[in-house]
C-alpha cells in the first residue's frame, strides 16, 4: 500500500496508490455526483457524472477527462473537480438523462443543481424512471443470485428477468428494489406475501409474534450456502432479544440465589 500525494483543486492530499479517486474525493468531502455508484459492487463507469479533469506535470498541458469511480490514484496527479469543462460534461449528461427519465425526482433534483430545469433534447418516446445504472443487476450478481440482468443493448437496453418470466433464481430479498436510486423497481408485501419481478413469495412468520420476516427462499439459501443454523430463522429479531434476555436472566437468577 504505497502512499501517494495528489493535488485536488489546488490542495495537497494523501491517498493510497491504486485506490479509486472517487473514494479519495468523497473522503475529502468534495461533492461529486454519481448515479451508478454503489459501494457494495464494483465500480461501473456508466453514468459518467463523476468525471473529473486530471493531468500531470509531464503531460505537457494535456488534460484527460476520466471517471473518478474507476481512475486509480497515482503520485503527482493534479485533479480539478469543477472546471468549466467538467461542469459542462455533467450538465450535458444530466440534460440527456432528463430526456430519458423526465419524471425521476432524483434526476430532476440533480439536474436542477446544475441549472438544468428542463431537457433541451427530445424526450424519448416511452420515458420511464430507469436510469440504467445497473446497480440492481450488479447487486444481484454480487449476492450470488444472478436472477436479473440487462437485456438488449444500446438505447433499447433494459433490466429484466430472463425470458420476461418470474425468475427462478430470485429469492425475494428486495436488494434490487431497495437500492434502486429512482425506486423504479416495483414490489409489494401484503399479508405475509411478497411480490417482485412477477414472482410471489411466502414470508416466514415469527413463531412467537406471528410477524413476517424474510422469504422462505432467502432463508433457505442462507442455510444451505452460508452455513447458518435453520433454527435462527424461526423467530424474528425482537423475539431473539427476548429469548436472549430470558436466557441470561436465568443464569443471573441462579448466581443471585447462589450468593444468597
Amino acid at each position: 500500500m504505497k502512499p501517494v500525494t495528489l493535488t485536488i483543486n489546488g490542495k495537497l492530499v494523501r491517498a493510497t496508490q491504486g485506490e479509486y479517486l472517487l473514494g479519495v474525493l468523497r473522503r475529502e468531502k468534495i461533492d461529486i455526483p454519481a448515479l451508478c455508484h454503489h459501494e457494495a459492487v464494483e465500480p461501473y463507469g456508466g453514468c459518467r457524472l463523476c468525471t473529473i479533469e486530471v493531468t500531470k506535470p509531464e503531460w505537457d498541458g494535456w488534460k484527460d477527462y476520466v471517471t473518478s469511480c474507476l481512475y486509480p490514484a497515482a503520485d503527482g496527479l493534479i485533479i480539478q473537480t469543477d472546471s468549466p469543462q467538467v461542469i459542462e460534461i455533467r450538465r450535458t449528461i444530466l440534460d440527456l438523462y432528463l430526456a430519458r427519465c423526465p419524471e425521476a425526482k432524483l434526476v430532476q433534483d440533480l439536474a436542477a443543481k446544475y441549472g438544468v430545469m428542463k431537457t433541451s433534447y427530445q424526450t424519448v418516446p416511452e420515458p420511464n424512471d430507469c436510469i440504467l445504472c445497473s446497480i440492481c443487476t450488479r447487486i444481484c450478481d454480487t449476492m450470488g443470485f444472478k436472477a436479473i440482468s440487462t437485456v438488449n443493448r444500446g438505447h433499447g437496453k433494459e433490466v429484466a428477468p430472463p425470458l420476461d418470466q418470474p425468475p427462478d433464481a430470485c429469492v425475494g430479498c428486495l436488494a434490487c428494489a431497495l437500492n434502486c436510486p429512482t425506486n423504479y423497481i416495483k414490489w409489494k408485501d401484503v399479508g405475509g406475501t411478497r411480490e417482485i419481478w412477477g414472482k410471489k413469495f411466502e414470508l416466514i412468520r415469527c413463531e412467537q409474534t406471528g410477524q413476517p420476516t424474510i422469504t422462505r427462499e432467502f432463508a433457505d439459501y442462507l442455510i444451505a450456502n452460508r452455513n447458518i443454523n435453520a433454527d435462527y430463522f424461526k423467530i424474528k429479531d425482537s423475539a431473539h432479544r427476548t429469548e436472549t434476555s430470558l436466557g441470561l436472566g436465568k443464569i443471573a437468577q441462579w448466581t443471585r440465589e447462589e450468593v444468597k
Binding site: 461501473y44 463507469g45 456508466g46 453514468c47 459518467r48 468525471t51 477527462y65 476520466v66 471517471t67 474507476l70 481512475y71 486509480p72 469543462q85 459542462e88 460534461i89 450535458t92 449528461i93 440527456l96 438523462y97 430526456a99 430519458r100 433541451s120 433534447y121 427530445q122 424519448v124 440504467l132 445497473s134 440487462t150 438488449n152 443493448r153 444500446g154 438505447h155 433499447g156 437496453k157
Partner: protein, 618 residues
C-alpha cells in the same frame, strides 16, 4: 507426422516448391467472396470438367489454383493464366472450354475476356499492366491471388513458416520484440499503436499466463480487408500470431472472427488443423520448447466487440460491454491476464518483417508510418476492390490512379475513411498523404481501412445520419454519453434531413458531440460523432441548405425532394407505372405520365426502370 525441426521445414519447403512449380503454367481462379458470389465455384467446376476429358502436355488440374481475393472484385470472376499474367475478367463457365483450348493448350489470348481500361478504352492483356494493380504495393496481401488458400503446402512452398523458424531457432523473445519495434509496425486495426511497444508491455507484466488474440471482428461497414486476408491467406495470420506468442510468452491464442464471415472461419479452421497435423501448432513447435495453440471464436454481431475490452469479454462468452481502460488490456485483458490484441492485417505483416528485417520494412512508407496499408476502395469509384499501398500514398493517387476515377464521370465530393469512427474528407484534402497521423490531424482516422468514395449524388447529412443510425443500434448502452448522446445526435440529424432543424440545432449538435467525445467510456462513443463533426466541418453549407432552404442538394433526403416526370423526355412506355408499388403514377401509353406527390413514397423504383431518364429528382 509432424515437422520437428527447422531443417525438416526447409526440406518440406523444397518439396512443396517443386510441386508448386511442377507445371510451367498455372491457372489462378479467384475465389474471394466477391468472385464466389459472381460464380467462381462454377468456373472451378468447369475447369475440372474440361480437364477431366482432355489431356494437355505439361498441365493438369493440380495447376488450377483456387486462391484468395485478387482485390478487383468489381471485375469478377477473375481468371489469371500464369506465368504470363493473362488477365480474364467476368469469366463465365461457358468461357472455360475456350480458355483451356486456346490459352492453356494453345497459348493464345482471348481478346473479349480481357479487361478494358475505362479511360482509354484499350484492352489490357496482363494484370501487371492494369492500373488497378500497377500502383499497389502488396505485402500483407502478398499471397492473395497466388496460392491456394486452403493448402498449407502452397504456403510452405512460397516460404511460409520460415519467419517462425528463424525466430524460434535464432532469436530470443526480446530480440523479436526489438525487431518489431524497430520496424515501426503500427497496429492496423485503427488506432495505430506501435505493435512492438504493446508486445513489450505485455511481456514485462509479471504473470503465469498470457494470451494473444487476433481481432478479426471487422465491424466497420464498408470494409472487407480482414475478411479477404483470413479467407485468402490464413496461414500468414497464424504465423504472425505464433511469432507474437513466442515474443510475449503466450501459450494460447484466440482468433475472433465476425459471424458474417463463414468462409473465413472454414479456412482458418482448416489452416489450424493442418498446422496441428504438421506440428506447427501444439507442443514443442519445431523441436523447440515453444508451445502454442489457437482457437477460433465466432462473433455474434456486435460492432462494439471490435473494442478490445468488449472483444475480450465476448471471447469469454459474455455480453460485449467495454470496461474503462485506465488499466490497459495489455496488462489486464482476457480473464484479467496480460493480453496482446492485434488485428488481422498487423499479424499478416509480422512473418515477412521477421524474414526481411526491420530496415526493409522501414524503407516502405513514410516516417513513423512504415509499411503499407490495405484498403477496401468502394463507393462511387470505377474500380472498386481491395488494394494495398505504401503509407503516404495520397488520396488522389488511390482514387484516380488505382480506382480509375469517379464512377460515371461524376464529380468527386468526399471520401470517407475510418468507418463509423472516421470522417469525410472533401476535395481540397485529396492530396493528403494517407497515414495514421495525417488522417487524424484532419479529423478523420485510418480505421481498419475502409475507404468509401462519394460523388455529388451523395448527401453528406444523410451520410452522417447513416453512421449515427448505425452507432445508435450498435452502442452497448452502458454509458450515458454514448447511449443517450448518440441517440439525440441522430434525432437532431434526422431533423436536418427532414427540414425541421434550425441553426440553433446545428450548434447544439456540435456542443453535444464534444461532450460525447470527451465523456464516453470506450472508443465507440469517443469517436462516434466523428462522421458528424467532419461533415459539419467540411460541408457546413450543405447542412445550411437543408436547414434554411429545406432542400437536399444531392437529392437524397426523401422529405426534401420530389419526383416529377420531364414531359419532353417521357416516351409513355408505362414502365414506371408498373414499377410503382404505391400507385402514385398514372398515364396512358405514349403520353407523358404524371406522378401524384401525395402518394409518392420516393422509393426510386420509377427512376430505376425509366429508360429515357425522364424522371427528375430534386
Amino acid at each position: 507426422m509432424g515437422i520437428t525441426s527447422s531443417k525438416q521445414l526447409l526440406e518440406m519447403h523444397k518439396e512443396c516448391k517443386a510441386t508448386f512449380e511442377k507445371y510451367p503454367k498455372k491457372v489462378i481462379v479467384c475465389c474471394g467472396t466477391g468472385c464466389i458470389a459472381n460464380g467462381a465455384r462454377k468456373i472451378v467446376e468447369a475447369f475440372q470438367a474440361a480437364l477431366a476429358e482432355r489431356k494437355i502436355k505439361d498441365f493438369s488440374i493440380e495447376a488450377v489454383k483456387e486462391t484468395g481475393c485478387h482485390g478487383f472484385c468489381e471485375q469478377g470472376p477473375l481468371v489469371v493464366i500464369e506465368p504470363h499474367g493473362t488477365f480474364y475478367t467476368h469469366v463465365k463457365p461457358k468461357d472455360v472450354e475456350a480458355i483451356v483450348e486456346k490459352s492453356i493448350a494453345g497459348g493464345e489470348v482471348i481478346e473479349p475476356l480481357l479487361y478494358t481500361n475505362p479511360v482509354t478504352g484499350n484492352k489490357v492483356e496482363r494484370y501487371q499492366d492494369v492500373s488497378f494493380f500497377t500502383h499497389q504495393h502488396r505485402i500483407a496481401l502478398r499471397n492473395l491471388g497466388k496460392i491456394a488458400a486452403h493448402d498449407i503446402r502452397d504456403y510452405i512452398a512460397v516460404g511460409g513458416y520460415q519467419g517462425l523458424a528463424k525466430v524460434l531457432t535464432s532469436m530470443t523473445p526480446d530480440q523479436v520484440i526489438d525487431l518489431i519495434a524497430d520496424s515501426g509496425l503500427r497496429g492496423r486495426g485503427g488506432g495505430g499503436f506501435p505493435a512492438g511497444k504493446k508486445w513489450r508491455t505485455c511481456r514485462n507484466v509479471e504473470s503465469d499466463v498470457r494470451y494473444v488474440i487476433c481481432n478479426g471482428d471487422e465491424g466497420d461497414p464498408g470494409a472487407f480487408m480482414d475478411r479477404s486476408m483470413m479467407e485468402g491467406d490464413p496461414h500468414s495470420v497464424l504465423e504472425g500470431m505464433m511469432i507474437a506468442a513466442f515474443a510475449v510468452g503466450a501459450k494460447n491464442g484466440y482468433i475472433y472472427v465476425r459471424e458474417e464471415y463463414p468462409l473465413a472461419v472454414i479456412h482458418l479452421q482448416k489452416a489450424i488443423q493442418d498446422c496441428e497435423k504438421h506440428g506447427l501448432l501444439g507442443d514443442n513447435i519445431l523441436g523447440t520448447n515453444f508451445s502454442f495453440r489457437i482457437r477460433i471464436n465466432r462473433g455474434a454481431g456486435a460492432f462494439v466487440c471490435g473494442e478490445s475490452s468488449a472483444l475480450m469479454r465476448s471471447v469469454a462468452g459474455e455480453v460485449g460491454e467495454p470496461r474503462a481502460k485506465y488499466i490497459h488490456s495489455v496488462i489486464k485483458g482476457l480473464w484479467d491476464k496480460p493480453t496482446v490484441l492485434n488485428n488481422v492485417e498487423t499479424y499478416a505483416n509480422v512473418p515477412i518483417i521477421a524474414m526481411n528485417g526491420p530496415e526493409w520494412f522501414k524503407s516502405i512508407g513514410v516516417k513513423n508510418n512504415s509499411g503499407t496499408k490495405v484498403f477496401s476502395l468502394v463507393g462511387k469509384v470505377r474500380n472498386t476492390g481491395l488494394i494495398e499501398v505504401a503509407m503516404g500514398t495520397t488520396l488522389r493517387e488511390i482514387i484516380y490512379d488505382i480506382g480509375g476515377g469517379m464512377l460515371d464521370g461524376r464529380p468527386f465530393k468526399a471520401v470517407q475513411t475510418g468507418g463509423p469512427s472516421g470522417g469525410c474528407l472533401p476535395a481540397p484534402q485529396l492530396d493528403l498523404p494517407v497515414d495514421f497521423d495525417s488522417l487524424t490531424a484532419v479529423g478523420s482516422m485510418m480505421g481498419s481501412g475502409g475507404m468509401i468514395v462519394m460523388d455529388d449524388k451523395t448527401c453528406m447529412v444523410d451520410v452522417a445520419r447513416y453512421f449515427l443510425h448505425f452507432l445508435v443500434s450498435e452502442s452497448c448502452g452502458k454509458c450515458v454519453p454514448c447511449r443517450e448522446g448518440l441517440y439525440q445526435l441522430h434525432e437532431l440529424t434526422e431533423r436536418v434531413c427532414t427540414g425541421e432543424a434550425t441553426e440553433a440545432d446545428l450548434e447544439k449538435m456540435e456542443k453535444l458531440s464534444e461532450v460525447v467525445i470527451t465523456a464516453s467510456l470506450c472508443g465507440l462513443g469517443k469517436s462516434g460523432p466523428n462522421p458528424l463533426m467532419s461533415t459539419i466541418k467540411y460541408f457546413r453549407d450543405e447542412y445550411l441548405t437543408h436547414i434554411r432552404e429545406k432542400r437536399c442538394p444531392a437529392a437524397v433526403c426523401k422529405k426534401l425532394i420530389t419526383y416529377t416526370v420531364i414531359e419532353e423526355k417521357c416516351t409513355g412506355c408505362m414502365a414506371c407505372i408498373t414499377a410503382c408499388a404505391y400507385n402514385a403514377i398514372t398515364g396512358e401509353r405514349k403520353k407523358p405520365h404524371f406522378i401524384h406527390q401525395e402518394k409518392c413514397e420516393k422509393c426510386g423504383a420509377c427512376v430505376a426502370v425509366c429508360k429515357p431518364d425522364a424522371i427528375l429528382v430534386e
